[in-house]
Symmetry: C2
Subunit: 255 residues, 2 copies
């Protein structure tokens, strides 16, 4: 499934930098259709700089005399507002709306509408919206930069669309028997290098199990830990052999 049927509509943006940042945010999240309604002249150098590798979206933008014309072909029309006025009680968060937008975009066009940097959307423009989005913020500073607001909405759509494959550990979690063989090796090793005495061993191993069980240990992790135990024993035995050869110099070789 793709987000290509969802257009981002900016109403009368003022700053080219914001328009460029919107393009980059859209590209990061897999949207590509940018419409400008009631456009004013903007600084295109700033727009191009902030768009970074998303200038294609900037160059392919469409312009419309009014919001009504920009969303004329759209079923679901989501309007974003930070205002706490007339529409407050009907607003929902981007996360609550995301699934609805993604589903609507399967069969037709949907729009996300963002208002002017200084004045947001007029009541007439809000009336064109079938749904109102309000992004969760502090009460103290509810007004987001327009490109930040676009990013949060596009990010929620990207996740709702299931486009993201969660990262996987290549190495699987170690099974219990492998983990236990590792703990046996550590016990032998810590006794062998003189870190603990037999009568304290159970207590120390309990502490070590606690430390190493805070997160999942992978097969790779366990092999690293086994290697450390093996190497410590090897050094201890080498020290012993040297000690037999040259009496009294047991520790020097291991530094």
């Amino acid at each position: 499934m793709s987000l290509k049927n969802i257009k981002v509509v900016l109403v009368s943006p003022i700053y080219g930098g914001n328009v460029g940042s919107v393009c980059r945010a859209m590209a990061n999240m897999g949207l590509s259709d940018l419409a400008i309604a009631a456009s004013r002249p903007i600084n295109m150098d700033e727009a191009r700089m902030m768009a970074c590798h998303a200038t294609e979206i900037l160059d392919n933008r469409t312009e419309f005399p009014s919001l009504a014309e920009a969303v004329a072909d759209c079923g679901v029309v989501m309007g974003a507002t930070a205002r706490r006025g007339l529409y407050r009680q009907h607003a929902r968060t981007p996360r609550e709306w995301a699934t609805k937008v993604v589903e609507a975009a399967r069969t037709g066009w949907a729009a996300l509408v963002f208002g002017r940097e200084d004045n947001g959307l007029t009541n007439e423009e809000m009336a064109l919206c079938t749904q109102i989005i309000q992004i969760p913020t502090t009460e103290e500073y509810p007004s987001l930069n327009v490109a930040q607001a676009v990013m949060i909405c596009c990010y929620e759509l990207f996740i709702a669309n299931g486009s993201y494959e969660p990262l996987q550990e290549k190495s699987p979690e170690a099974p219990s028997d492998l983990r236990e063989r590792m703990f046996v090796m550590w016990r032998d090793s810590l006794l062998r290098i003189g870190f603990m005495k037999e009568n304290k061993a159970d207590h120390m191993m309990h502490g070590l199990r606690r430390i190493l069980s805070r997160g999942a240990l992978t097969v790779d992790d366990v092999h690293i830990l086994m290697g450390i135990a093996r190497q410590a024993v090897w050094n201890a035995e080498r020290g012993d052999r040297n000690s037999e050869n040259k009496d009294g110099e047991q520790m020097t070789e291991t530094h």
Copy 2:
């Protein structure tokens, strides 16, 4: 619970505008502690302009010679990366980590670390991080503007912190008996104004119920709908009376 124990650390940021945008994003989401590690000279006019009403965060930023010093007092240290390299398989999304960071910040300092605009974090800096964050993006363009990356992470923390009170309809959802009284009024009204005949009434009312049941109807909504039905009947009756008085002019008054 507050997010005041979570610091945002920027490593060697280049652009003042980005630093300012970071401040605004933090203020939107209730964070306030900004640290700059290995700072370079930035354009403070741009920073101030993009910080908008969050210049206090900009002015109160702390600076450190290195990342190690910036996070020295932090338990959990989350590093954000877009790279698909050494750390990829251990990375998790901001949403997956958010609860962990919020819990850690109850009892001590936590840090969110973001790298250079051009080169991200070095391997040495990544090694200082206890966890790695990767923001879900398209494969085609995984590199976010640094302020956008900060915004998504802070937004997820704000939501995980439960700071946001979902908006509530002031008017409760209408109970069934009120809704049914409204449908009776509409049925009478639609018959009275001649929109439908008695033999089609059940079918039409079924359609109307479908339209009006797509979303929850509040008590306020039902009162509006009742008012419309009542007014339509009132007009129809007025038309009848006029018709009795001045024969043949039934419809003119209602235009």
